[in-house]
Every structure is written in C-alpha cells, then in structure tokens.
Symmetry: D2
Subunit: 271 residues, 4 copies
Amino acid sequence: MNVCKVGIVTKFNNQNAIEAGKKIAEFYRSKNVKVFSVNNLDVIGVTTVSPEEVSKLDLDLVFSVGGDGTTLRTFRMLPKSTPVFSVNIGGTKRILAEVAGDCNIKAQLEAILNGNCFFDSRIRIQARVANQVFGPALNDILIMRTNLTRTPVFRICFLNETLSFRMDGIIVATPTGSTGHSLSLGGPIIHEQLNCLMILPIAPVQRIPCMIIQPQDISVSSTHGTKIVIDGQEIYDANAESSIIISRYEHDGKFMRLHKRGIRQIAQLGF
Amino acid sequence: MNVCKVGIVTKFNNQNAIEAGKKIAEFYRSKNVKVFSVNNLDVIGVTTVSPEEVSKLDLDLVFSVGGDGTTLRTFRMLPKSTPVFSVNIGGTKRILAEVAGDCNIKAQLEAILNGNCFFDSRIRIQARVANQVFGPALNDILIMRTNLTRTPVFRICFLNETLSFRMDGIIVATPTGSTGHSLSLGGPIIHEQLNCLMILPIAPVQRIPCMIIQPQDISVSSTHGTKIVIDGQEIYDANAESSIIISRYEHDGKFMRLHKRGIRQIAQLGF
Amino acid sequence: MNVCKVGIVTKFNNQNAIEAGKKIAEFYRSKNVKVFSVNNLDVIGVTTVSPEEVSKLDLDLVFSVGGDGTTLRTFRMLPKSTPVFSVNIGGTKRILAEVAGDCNIKAQLEAILNGNCFFDSRIRIQARVANQVFGPALNDILIMRTNLTRTPVFRICFLNETLSFRMDGIIVATPTGSTGHSLSLGGPIIHEQLNCLMILPIAPVQRIPCMIIQPQDISVSSTHGTKIVIDGQEIYDANAESSIIISRYEHDGKFMRLHKRGIRQIAQLGF
Amino acid sequence: MNVCKVGIVTKFNNQNAIEAGKKIAEFYRSKNVKVFSVNNLDVIGVTTVSPEEVSKLDLDLVFSVGGDGTTLRTFRMLPKSTPVFSVNIGGTKRILAEVAGDCNIKAQLEAILNGNCFFDSRIRIQARVANQVFGPALNDILIMRTNLTRTPVFRICFLNETLSFRMDGIIVATPTGSTGHSLSLGGPIIHEQLNCLMILPIAPVQRIPCMIIQPQDISVSSTHGTKIVIDGQEIYDANAESSIIISRYEHDGKFMRLHKRGIRQIAQLGF
C-alpha cells in the first residue's frame, strides 16, 4: 500500500490528542507524505482542512485520535472505504481503537509503513427519508419517539412483510455497533465480521425480542414524529407516517489493523 | 358511605364515554345527588367544571369513564384520597378499570349505593425540583435524557448511599405502575398492595438490574438536562445537575371496587 | 427433481398423523414410487423401517408428519441433505412446518410432483466429546450443569480466545433454533438463512449477553459434569473438564418448501 | 443481650476459617462463655457438635465463618431466630457477611460484647410436599424440571388464582436471595427489609415477567417430575402433579450486625 496523502482527525478540545496527532504528522512529514488535519496541529507542512473537505481529498489513510466517538465521526467523513487507523486517547471503552495513544506510536507507524498491517472491513448503514440521506453510520441508527407522552406504533417492513409494534423506539445496529447502545438495551453481541443487521425494539409493549437479519432495506414508519440519530452523534427529524428507509451503505468502513484478535469487541468489553 | 357529591371525568373526544357519563349523571341526579362533570354532559342539573375546580370540590366519589389514561388523569385531579370508580370505555389494556362500559352500569351503581363495594388504596409518588412539585403520579415518573447524542451519568441517592450509572434515563414506578411502561422496559410485576417502589434504569451501560425498595425519598440528578414525565402524560424540564426528589405522596389513590380479585393486574394482562 | 424413494416419519402415538401419512403413502404408491415408513401405516406396498435404516436408504424426499418435535427427529435420521417436507399435525408452535395437516394434502403433493417447490437449507451443528459424536441438531445443543447445588465455571473457546463464565449452562443455537429454547432464555430471533451461531449463557453470574458468531468450532468445558442435550430430545453425559466441541455439521438440513415467506419464523410466532 | 452459649460454624475444609473460628472460641472461652463448634477447633473447653445438635442447643449467638454458602448452611441449622454473626473467609461475593475474616476480629467481638450491635431480620421460606417440609431457606427455593427433554407446564396458585406457564422451572426468592441465583436469571434486586417474595419463571415459553407479591402460600405443581433445591444447597424430588407449597417460615433469620448500611447488597455487588 502506497501512502501519499494522510488525514488526521483529533478529539475535540483534547490536548493529548493534539500531541499524538502532532507526532503522527511529523512522522509522515519526515517521509514527505502530504498531511491534512481537521484540527490545527501547528506542524509545518500540514494543511488544516474542514470535515467536509476531508471527504473530497481522496486520502490513502486517516488517523482517528481520540475515543470511540472520534472514530465514529471520522468514518462519517469518509464516503469511500478509506482506511482508518484508530488511536485511543481519552476514550473509556475504546472498543474500536487499535492502539492506545500512550503506546509507542512511532513503532506502530513504522509497522504500517512496512506493510505489517491488514484491513478489517465493517458494514455501514444509512437512513433515507424522502430525498434526504443521513449517515453512513458505522454503529447504529436510532429512531426514537419525540413526544414522551405518546407511545407510537412502529411499522417495520422488510422481506415483503410488515410488523407493527407499539413501543418507544427502535435501533438498527451493525455488528460493529452491537457493543454500543444496543447492548445497553439488551441486545446480543455480534461478531464484527458477520454480514447482518440487528433490529432491536425499545420498550415494546408486547415484549418483542431482538431480530437479526441479512443486510437489506428496512422501512420504518411511526404513527408519531420521531428523531433519527446517527451513531449517537447526529440528530434529524422525521414526521409521523414518513417512511424511513435504512439500508446498507455501499462502501464499507475499513479499519487498518496491526494485530489480529479473535473477538476484538468482547475482549475489549472485559467479559 | 354517604355520597352527596359525585364527579365524572370522561375520555377526551369519545362519544361512548359521554353516553356512559350521562347514564351515571342521570342515575345520581334521580337520587338528588349533586353531580359535577369535567365534560359537558348535557344533563339537567349537572354542573360542568374545570379539572382545576374538581380538586377543590371535596367530592365523595369520582367516576373515571374511559381508558387507563383517563383514570390516571382523574387521579391527578384529586389531591386527597377521594374514591374513584373506573369504567372502561375504549381502553385497550384496561388494567385499572373495575368494569367495562358496556356492562349494565346501572346494576353497578346500585351496588355502590347499597354499599356492596370496598376501597383499594394505592401508593402515589410525586417529583420535586427546587420549589416546584409535579404529580401526584399513580403509575410512574420517568426521567429521560433530553439530548439524544449524550448519555448522561445519573446519580441516585437513597438510604444515605449514592449510585452512579451512565444511561438514557430512569423510571420510578409504584406497584400500580409496574404493569405499565416499566414492564415494557423489562421490569417485574409487583402486586398492587405492596408498599414499595421500583427504580428501573433505562439502557444502562453497565447492565444494572431493577431495584425495589421501600417508599422513601429518592434523589436523582443527571449530568445533562432531562425531561420529567408524570404518568406518561405531563412533561416538565429539569436542568443538568438539578436535584429531582421523588417521594411518596401523602394521600394514596383510592379505587372503589366491587369485586375482589387476587392478582388484578396479572389477570388483566392475559398472562 | 426425480422422486423414486419416499420416506414418511409420523408423530408417536398420533392417529391423525398416521391418517395423513397414509394419504401421502397412497399418493406415492399410486405413482409407483417406493415408500418407506417409520411407523406401520398399513398401506399395501409400503415398507416399515427403523429410524436407523432410514439413514441408509438414500431417500429422495422424506415427509415429517407431526409437530416441530417430529421434524427435528426426522432431520436427525438424515445424515445427508435429504429434503424434508414438514406437515403439521398436532404441533402447537409449528414454526418448522410448511403446511397444516388439515390442508388439502393432495394438492400439496401434486405441487411437489410438478416441481412447484424449492429448497430451504439450514445449517446444522453437532457435538463431539472424545471420540463420540452427537447430533446433528437442527435447532440447538444445550450443555447444562448436572448438579443443581454447584454453579460450574464454563470455559468457552473460539477464535483462539477463551472466555470463562460461572453459570448454570450454555446453549448453542442455529438460526433455525433461535425461535426455540433460546428465545425462552432471552435470545434474539435470527433469520433462518443467516450463516451464524448463537452462544447464549444460561443464568450467568456476571450477566453476560448472548454472542453471535460465524459457524466454527466452539470448545466448551465445565468444572463440573454436564448433560448435553441435542435438539431438546436426546441427552448425553459429559464429565467435568472434558472438552465438548460444537461444530457445524457438514451436511445442511434441507426443507422442501412450496411458498416463499419473508420471515417465516417471526410470522409463525405471532409477533 | 446476655451471651451464655455460642456456636461456631466454619467452612468445610478451610484452614483459614478454622483459624478464625479458633480465635472466636478462645475469646469466648476467656469470658467463660460455653462454646460449641460444628468443626473440631482443637480449643480446650469447646464442645464439637453435629449440625443436628446445633438446632437443639438453644444458642444465644452463632458465628458463621466462611463464604455466603456457609452462612446459608448456618441459618438452616437454626429453626428459631437465633442471631448469626457472619465472618467472611474465602467467599467471593460475601453479600451476607458483616466483616471480613482478616479484619481485627477481636475488636468486632468486643463490640458485640459491649452491645454495639443490632439485629437485621430477614424473612425465610420453606417448601412442603405432602407431609415433608424442606428448609427453611434464607435465599431461595428453586423448582426445576428433572427431564431435560420435556418442558413442563407449571401451575402456580396464590391469592385464589392459578397461572399456567410452560417453562423449565421456577424460583421463589426472598429479598435476601434477590442478589443470588435469581439475579443471574434476570430478576430485580429487592431491598432486604421488604416484606415480599419474588416468583421468577425460568425460560418461560411465553416470556413471562418476574412477579413480586406479599409473603403467602404459593402452590406450585408441574406436569413432570421436578427437583426442589433449597438455597442452592439441598436437593429433593417432587413427582409430577404433586403440590409443592412454598410459604413463609414462621421464624425469621436474624443477623447480628455492627454497622448500618443503606443498601447492603447493592453496595456489595459493586454496582
């Protein structure tokens, strides 16, 4: 893999992340690689860019320096399957990260340079309402009632069948997202390489279980207005009865990894 | 029991409830009992009053004619332990109701008149934030995060101890409320005569179980702003870090019942 | 598909199943197809065989006539991917069945004869302890503590990692089995076409979630003796510390179906 | 409280427990208090007795030295409300213990001698089948299917109503037991002072919730034979259709405590 253009995304307002970002930037600058950073790193030869510009730069590799939130944000900047190397700084769960920021970053960067690394692809999903598209999400898309005094009926269509449940909301999660919000809501952990989606009802009146299906278009509508939340980070509104289509995003998220791990997420959760 | 003043609360916009309310009004008018109604019943001699006035009328008996929502609303109009007789019209679960509206209401009214009835008391709870008091709630008080992109840490204090959990929200339910929203969220069913409260975490990151404790002051605060929802019907705001005290309300809710039933709620849920 | 040899497995001690079996036998005999039955059907030209013989007959199609239990039993008689057509008689859940026994069976048989049918393949699993092999199971393999006064520690190895949980037992289920015992234990429903296995802890002290992984060898051992239960129907013993290997069985179970259904199991469960 | 006769129950095969038991025995012998021990402590003046004899000695105070299992066993030796002081040695959860064995036991014993202690009463339950009585149990009574290839229908009667659920088993737990096996099975935590019982279905086909009721006779019968397990330690058999009556035991279990704690069990569980 030939790396000519590198991007760096650092956690908001976190000096340690900036410091780690600087080291990465200096390493690549010393190899004459072009470096673009979303935060100002104050390193000579590094171009500061907006998140919107990142998506257009056709980068070869992007470093996410922060917690899992930063990694999720980084992936949403990347419409294609640009590789992301995730360095944990200040994250608590660090389920998504490859290395901790206080490791010897330089050794990791050398390993990448020498090709001692591999790709770890993850399916992503998006939501479509009328002609708007939200996402892609690496973890999950939450559809939640807006009005706490109404329990809507959600209609969920997939595979030519329609299910109707009265409940507070619904979460559709990827295997990557199965250790996130859906786990707190009682869902299973799904191995990150499986090719499936989880549909998890939230507070269903009829005590409906979680369902796991192949990636496909899932249409959700509700008798009342809802909020659509992408990866727990971006919020959009949907009207009552409007059709929200959740579908697999065409370009997977691609992690760059150094070490194979059997059950990365489970090990990281400490079970 | 001497009944001199009767109140009637009918379901919003429901003609069947109005019709049943009329029958009740006519029955009591024919006995020269004073009758007050929250909806206009168009019966001679019946005074239409506002919900606020109901609380001041010192009624002897109030009829709730509608679904469980109407019963909950009726109880919130009654600051004292005024007896409520609940007639189900148009409700689906009708867990709280004594009789169905299409029963022979007149026979039921005669039974009440003849004293063939008994009281069924239920603990109620209220929420206090600064100098505002919300409630009383017969079923539950929900405290829910406002911002769907933040998972707050909730601190819960009772019995001189403090627990801290990162989660979406918390519900405190009475035994009466245990067949409502908390059941959908995975909580147990509690016999309606037990003297206890349920504290149920919503989507806790650490998979915390439900806790059941004696009625007492429970202080809840959150690192982010929350909504306080009373019986799933009234919504109030609480700021981040403000202390929300949930406590037993001094006057129980009092149902008037005709028939003893062993496990009223469970039977009604159809298990 | 050329059908020359047909097998029939009918529910134990069920006259309705025998009657339906007779009709099927007579239909195929009238077409000069060889028919073998596990129960004596009293039809001229039908050979009664033992379950062990069924596995060696190289049948083209087998009818399972009974409930889901009969279907599970039928599949265990078939070491290869012999097609099974499942007719429901006397079953309650009938999740696995294609048609009800009181339907017009003859019309169904004509449809099969005319090729208006398709195959629906399901992964199966087996358990291996030392040099013994148990199964194959279409639904699930349960490993349960034998001694109710001891809570064993189970060690579960897959993907080169080992997890240790103190608990009562463990169930490994296929997607087909996800609507069975594992659903009662709190597991998710998995679409029957997905290529994965569910590992569900039973009464884990540490409140471990369900895990969903690719089909692969899963090694389970326990600090105390256990029972191994195949499809809820056959029981074997395993000693403390002995290694139980659960793996995908090399030949899938193959249903013959007439009608495509989107989410067969969910529809059947009545959610 | 005047202590004239002290009993000591130490954990099986645990030298540390024996050592701690010795210290307790020597302390009380130096005060001329009579001391009886279930294990031979090799202390002059201490009488070794059988568990059966303990129940008849009319002791003033009994020390349980070991884990939670030892404490449960100690309480079953005591048909009356004899106070138990629980010293944790070698236990992992130590939810029931007052002090750790490596604390300054002598200081604790002085505190007891000086009356700086109080009682903490807990309801207990027993099971009755025909004319046999099992228990009392401090934690829970489990009724579990014997045959792993049959899912029995359990009929549960209380308050003049009968519920029927198809499932693997049922656990009836006291508030004290709510942090034990029932927690692993998904039950709530109940404050130890509440006067109630938990009925928790195990793997119910219909996904029945936990029920919490007043202490009362609960009759359980099953369509198939079951095992009755008392506090996870003693096992008895019950035939199909035989009526198992679980009821509150007439004498509560009584802990002697030094320190008030708000939510003893929850704190101990580390939530």
